[in-house]
Symmetry: C2
Subunit: 390 residues, 2 copies
C-alpha cells in the first residue's frame, strides 16, 4: 500500500487550522518514553506554557491526552455528582453537548436556552441562577464554534462566583485567538483544544483547574464515573510530587508539537496574536461584505477567529464548498445542527490567520459567486435572522 500523501490545503474552517512546518517537524522527532526524565522536563515546560497561555497560576494545568470533547466531559464529571444541579447556558451546539454530558453524569440540568448566533444572555443566566440557588455550577461556552458568537466570560464567571457556584468555561476556539484570562475571571475549570488558534494538530485538550475545583474533586462523596478522567488519579501523572506515577501513556509526539506551537504563540506574545486575529477578521469582514455577505453575529459579539455568514440565496452549500476545496485548495466549514446548509463558518485561527489568506479566500469566493450577486447585498437564506434553536 502506498503512503498517504495529504493534499495541500488552506484550512479556513472551524478547525483544524494550518499547522506551522516547525510544529510538524517537532512531531516527527524520535519518540521517547513517557516516563523518561527528558519527557518529564517537557511535561513541566508545557504545563508552564499553558499557564501563560491561559493567564493563570493554577497549579493543575495540563494537556489532556484526548480531544477537547473529552476535556468538556472531564470538567463536568469532575465537579458534578449524581443529583447535583447545574445551570448550563446554550447558545449553540456545544452548550447543548455540555448539558447532555451533565445529564449523563446524573446531574439535574437547568438549561438556559439563548439565541444561536448571539452571546450567552446575561440576564437569562442571572434569572436562572436566582431560581436555582442550590446549583453547584454554571457551565457555558466562551467562543461558540458552531455560531461564531463571543460570550462575556468575565461577567458569567463573576455571576457564578457571587452565587457561590463553580464555573466551567469552554474556550476550545478561544485560546490563542482572543483574551482567555482564567486568573482574572477566577474561573474554575477552563479547557481548550490544540487544533484551533494554537495551530497544533488535533488530539490534545489543554485544561486548567482552580484550587476550588481540585478541592471539589478531592472531597467528592461518589467516585468519578470515568476512570480515565478521574482527576485524583491523573494528578499522580501530571502533578506527581516526588516522582510521577503511571496512569496512561501520554501521546509523546503530539506533545512535542504542542510544545512547539506554544513556544510560537508565547514568542509572538498573546496581545500581538489577539491583535493579529482582530486585524485579519476586520479585513475579512470588509472583503465579505463587499461581496454582499451578511454576518450571522452582530459586530460587537463576533469572534475574530470564527466568522459566520449567511449563505447567499440560491447558492448551494456543499457543492460550493467542494469547489473551493477542489479548485482553490481552501477548506471552509458548513453549519452545524439547525444551521447546516444555512451558514458558512470561516476560520482565521492561529497560523491560518493572515491577510494573504483572507485575500485568497475572498478572491476565490468572488470567482465562484454568480456575477449578478456581486457588489450588491445578497438576499440571504435567512427565513429567521435570529434563531432560537434551543
Amino acid at each position: 500500500m502506498n503512503a498517504f500523501m495529504p493534499p495541500t490545503r488552506l484550512l479556513m474552517g472551524p478547525g483544524p487550522s494550518n499547522v506551522a512546518p516547525e510544529v510538524l517537524a517537532a512531531q516527527a522527532r524520535s519518540t521517547i518514553g513517557h516516563l523518561d526524565p527528558d519527557f518529564t522536563q517537557l511535561m513541566e515546560l508545557i504545563k508552564e506554557q499553558l499557564r501563560l497561555a491561559f493567564r493563570t497560576v493554577n497549579r493543575i494545568t495540563f494537556p489532556l491526552s484526548a480531544p477537547a470533547s473529552l476535556a468538556m466531559e472531564m470538567a463536568l464529571v469532575t465537579l458534578l455528582e449524581p443529583g447535583d444541579k447545574a445551570v448550563v447556558a446554550q447558545n449553540g451546539v456545544f452548550g447543548g453537548r455540555m448539558a447532555d454530558i451533565a445529564r449523563r453524569a446524573g446531574a439535574e440540568v437547568r438549561l438556559v436556552s439563548c439565541e444561536w448566533g448571539r452571546p450567552v444572555d446575561l440576564d437569562a443566566v442571572r434569572a436562572a441562577i436566582r431560581e436555582s440557588p442550590e446549583a453547584k455550577l454554571l457551565a457555558f461556552v466562551h467562543a461558540e464554534t458552531s455560531t461564531g458568537a463571543w460570550s462575556d466570560a468575565a461577567a458569567l464567571c463573576e455571576m457564578a462566583r457571587e452565587a457561590g457556584m463553580l464555573s466551567i468555561v469552554d474556550t476550545v476556539t478561544g485560546l490563542g485567538g482572543i483574551p482567555v484570562l482564567v486568573g482574572e475571571w477566577q474561573a474554575d475549570v477552563v479547557y481548550s483544544g490544540t487544533q484551533k488558534c494554537l495551530s497544533a494538530p488535533p488530539g490534545l485538550a489543554p485544561i486548567t483547574f482552580s484550587e476550588r475545583a481540585v478541592a471539589t474533586a478531592k472531597t467528592r462523596k461518589s467516585p468519578i464515573q470515568s476512570w480515565f478522567l478521574d482527576l485524583n488519579l491523573m494528578l499522580g501523572y501530571w502533578d506527581g510530587e516526588g516522582g510521577r506515577s503511571y496512569h496512561h501513556t501520554a501521546p509523546v509526539n503530539a506533545l512535542y508539537g504542542l510544545h512547539e506551537s506554544l513556544t510560537r504563540l508565547l514568542g509572538e506574545g498573546l496581545e500581538t496574536t489577539w491583535a493579529r486575529h482582530l486585524a485579519a477578521h476586520e479585513w475579512l469582514a470588509e472583503r465579505l461584505q463587499e461581496l454582499g455577505f451578511v454576518f450571522v453575529v452582530e459586530k460587537e459579539f463576533r469572534l475574530p477567529q470564527l466568522n459566520t455568514v449567511w449563505l447567499p440565496e440560491h447558492m448551494e452549500d456543499a457543492p460550493v464548498r467542494r469547489r473551493l476545496l477542489d479548485e482553490f485548495g481552501i477548506e471552509i466549514g458548513g453549519g452545524l445542527g439547525p444551521l447546516a446548509g444555512r451558514i458558512w463558518r470561516i476560520g482565521l485561527m492561529g497560523e491560518t490567520c493572515r491577510i494573504e489568506n483572507v485575500n485568497r479566500l475572498a478572491d476565490a469566493i468572488a470567482t465562484i459567486l454568480p456575477q449578478r450577486s456581486r457588489a450588491t447585498t445578497l438576499r440571504c437564506n435567512q427565513i429567521e435572522r435570529t434563531l432560537n434553536c434551543g
Copy 2:
C-alpha cells in the same frame, strides 16, 4: 524558548516502542481537515487495515482518538449498564483496572484473582462463570503488560460464549506481536494501543466490536454514561452511511502515522512479524539466562514482546535503569504495583524487536552487572516466586 530535542533512545520498555522514520515522517505531513474527502478515504483505509490486523471482518473497527485506557473504558461502559454483573479476570495491573472501570459503570464485579505472572486461570474463570450464570460479560487481559503473561484468549472467549456471555479482550500489548484472532475467537470487543507492537506514537487505540456488541449498545435501557464513548454517537463519525456526521475532531496527523505503521505491519505480514517477535524473544531469553537472570513467567506463557525478569539480589532498580538510559541510551521498564522494584520489564515490540537490539541491551547489562554475578545463576529478589497480589 528553544525547541525540544528529544534524546535518541532504544525503547525496550513496556511501550512506547521505537517508531520507524517512515511513520514519523508520515505524522509530519501537512494537516488536512477531519471532514476532508481525502481524510475520509484515509479513515476507510485505516479501518480496513485494522480489520486485517485484528483478523476480523467486524464492520465496526476503528482507532479510538485516545489512549488505550480509554478504549478499555469504552468497551466496558458500552456493554455494561448499572446493575449488570461482570466476571473480570485479574492477573496483573490491567485486569484490576478493568474491574475498577466496571464498578464505576455501576456493574457488580465478580473478580477472579489469579496469580500475577501467570496466565488467567481457566479453571477459576470456569468456576466463576458457573457461579454467575446471570453475568453479562467476561473481561480479561490477553497480554498482561504488567507481568508479561500470555493468556488463552480463544479458550476464554469460548467459555464466555458457551455461557451466553459477551467477551472483552484487552490486547494492548498483543496486537502485532502475537496472534490476535478476533474472528476465530468470536470475541465481542477487542482493543489495543498504537505504541506497543504497532510502533506508532502513543495516543490512539484500535478497537473492534462484534455485531452482538453493537446490538447490545443499540438496545441499552440506559444511556452510555460517557458522551465521548457513546458508540451510538461515534458510529455516525466512523461509520456514517451516506456521509459522516461531526462528532469530535480526529487526531489527523496521528492517524497518518498509524496508517503508515499498519502499512508496514501488513507489508511484512502478520505471521512473519509474529515469528520475528518469537525469534528475538528466544535470543533475549538465552542472553539473559546466560547473565543469570530468571524469568518471572513460565516458558510456555511468556509474551515474546514483553519479557519480565526478577531483579538480581542487591541490584537496585531505578539507579541501574537510569544507568542504562544515561550511559547506553536504552530504556527498559520497572515493575508496576506489587512488582515495583522487584522485576524489570523488557519490551521487544514492533520496530524495537530486532536481534541487534537484544545484543545491545544484553551487552549493556553485562557491563553494569557486578562481575561476581556473571555466568552464575543470580539469587533473585524473590521472596515469593509466585505471587498472589489480587
